[in-house]
């Protein structure tokens, strides 16, 4: 199995693992980590596809797209983390379960 | 030919140091012992691997860059070890 085929499957698995974490984990920080895993999976798939022909240099177009994607992904992560901080500050919550009220949760504070 | 042989020997030596450092990281009981193990891997192991690569370098510039990488790594490793050690020491001496 050539590296590009191997890492294509790894990319799919990373994406699905990330999706599972995104759906099932209650803590928002873990959701963001899981979302980053999903984006890593997508990047890996693109780069693996670009490297499929070992006899010529790898396709530079997906490379450029992934570099752009990495910068976008860090901006999104930074913004998401700021929102988490904000939500925690105003509602004292760190999860997104609307039906769940922790004994220490307080919604009355500004 | 002889150069390649030396490269292989130094590369393997470096790998052994990295292996020892990693085992130490995983098995040693506290932060200070782990730092000790880690610095062995960083300084000595990387030193051997850089030596192995130096023997394969095409030009003087590549060789200089490799040496620079090793020096920066030494600098960073020493400082980070100091910071981690100091943090842990303070935690010990003044418990909250």
């Amino acid at each position: 199995m050539t590296p590009d085929v191997l890492f294509k499957y790894v990319a799919v698995l990373l994406f699905v693992i990330g999706l599972y974490g995104m759906l099932s984990q209650p803590h928002m920080l873990r959701k963001i980590l899981a979302g980053n895993l999903m984006s890593v999976g997508v990047f890996l798939f693109m780069i693996a596809t670009a490297a499929r022909n070992a006899s010529i240099t790898a396709d530079p177009v997906p490379h450029a797209m992934v570099i752009t994607g990495i910068v976008v992904s860090i901006s999104v992560t930074a913004l998401a983390l700021m929102l988490v901080e904000r939500i925690q500050r105003s509602s004292k919550r760190i999860h997104l379960y609307w039906w769940f009220r922790h004994p220490h949760d307080r919604d009355d504070e500004p | 030919m002889i150069l390649n042989l030396f490269s292989i020997v130094f590369g393997l030596l470096g790998a052994v140091f990295f292996l020892a450092g990693t085992i130490g990281m995983l098995r040693f009981p506290d932060v200070f012992c782990r730092l000790h193990a880690q610095t062995k891997a960083d300084n000595q192991g990387l030193g051997f691997i850089i030596t192995a690569l130096l023997l394969q370098a095409d030009s003087v510039w590549v060789a200089l860059k490799l040496i620079l990488i090793w020096l920066v790594m030494l600098l960073a490793s020493a400082n980070i070890s100091y910071l981690i050690g100091r943090y842990k020491l303070r935690q010990h001496s003044e418990p909250e």
């Binding site: 920080l29 530079p60 797209m65 860090i74 901006s75 | -």
Partner: protein
């Protein structure tokens, strides 16, 4: 590469998968973040294995440095709030929500397994031969003004992508600043005490070197792996490291200069694009012979903006002094 390369790739793939599963299910959030940083470093190695050194350079600076700072900083803040119990104690949430959480986990697993099959089929059926766009790019290289393919794609063939990416970065910074304006109360931050002699000495050696590396990467971009992105990211990482060791960085800039740096890359792209629209009849269509110089101009400003924007995003919550000009509207 032969069998050794194959074994290495297999091990790398295995470690990537184990790390990703561990970081979702390890009980401590701090461990999860550290595992994520390790994953980022190994991704850098994977990019090299897949012949993508440009991506590896970007990933090494972002995955290892910036993401780690972001997550650890937030984690520190969440744990040092007065209301510790409700903020980070995942276990309490787990225990209290057990029956419904089981349901969520089962449903999520079902969705993921249902999705896994078609995705694996896509991976199996995706092309394994063919040259992709490599020949097309190589054929058009002569007119691009640079000799490195990835830079040519980023700033010539698909420069519109880079323009949009700078826009995304700008919007993220705007949103972050809005969030910050909304609360000016002081936060506990991970910024340590005043600098100590050892760190000062380290900086005296390291700072010139890091600035040189950043400039070197920008220069490399026109003919080999490197370029505006990597250069901007290394610069951002340097400034963030400086701030984290207690030095004053962005606060030293007059607010106007800081804001100008935030927009100069985007503005330059729009101005150049519009000028080309008038001269050449197409947006960002460089005239013959001018491509190299225009790309260099765009790269320098884009790199400055990427560096400033990333520093603002990462330190946005940690450096209150940067925002002192904005009064609390309440």
């Amino acid at each position: 590469m032969g069998p050794v390369g194959g074994v290495f790739d297999g091990l790398l793939a295995l470690v990537l998968l184990v790390l990703s599963i561990r970081l979702l299910f390890v009980s401590s959030l701090f461990h999860a973040v550290v595992l994520f940083i390790a994953l980022g470093l190994l991704m850098g190695l994977t990019w090299v294995r897949l012949q993508a050194p440009d991506v590896a350079l970007a990933e090494a600076a972002i995955g290892a440095a910036l993401t780690g700072v972001l997550f650890i900083d937030l984690l520190y803040k969440l744990t040092h709030r007065n209301n510790i119990r409700s903020s980070v104690s995942e276990r309490l949430i787990y225990e209290q929500t057990m029956p419904r959480r089981w349901l969520t986990a089962c449903l999520s697993a079902l969705v993921c397994i249902a999705l896994l099959a078609p995705l694996l089929m896509v991976a199996a059926q995706s092309p394994t031969t063919g040259a992709g766009l490599t020949p097309a790019v190589s054929a058009a290289m002569a007119a691009t003004g640079v000799t490195h393919e990835v830079t040519a794609v980023l700033l010539n063939f698909r420069s519109f992508d880079t323009l949009l990416e700078l826009t995304v970065l700008f919007v993220a910074v705007l949103a972050a600043l809005t969030l910050r304006v909304m609360d000016t109360s002081s936060l506990p931050t991970a910024i340590p005490k005043p600098p100590d002699p050892l760190m000062d000495g380290l900086w005296r050696l390291l700072l010139p070197l890091l600035v040189a590396v950043s400039g070197y990467l920008l220069w490399l971009g026109s003919f080999t792996s490197g370029g505006a992105f990597q250069s901007g990211i290394v610069m951002a990482a340097t400034i963030i490291l400086l701030s984290l060791t207690g030095q004053r960085t962005l606060e030293l800039l007059p607010p106007l200069v800081w804001r100008a740096l935030l927009v100069v890359g985007l503005l330059n792209f729009i101005v150049v694009g519009a000028a080309m629209l008038m001269l050449e009849g197409a947006f960002l269509q460089y005239p013959q012979g001018w491509a190299g110089g225009l790309i260099l101009l765009l790269e320098v400003t884009a790199s400055l903006t990427i560096a400033t924007a990333l520093v603002t995003l990462v330190l946005g919550l940690s450096v209150p002094a940067m925002f002192k000009r904005y009064p609390d509207p309440r």
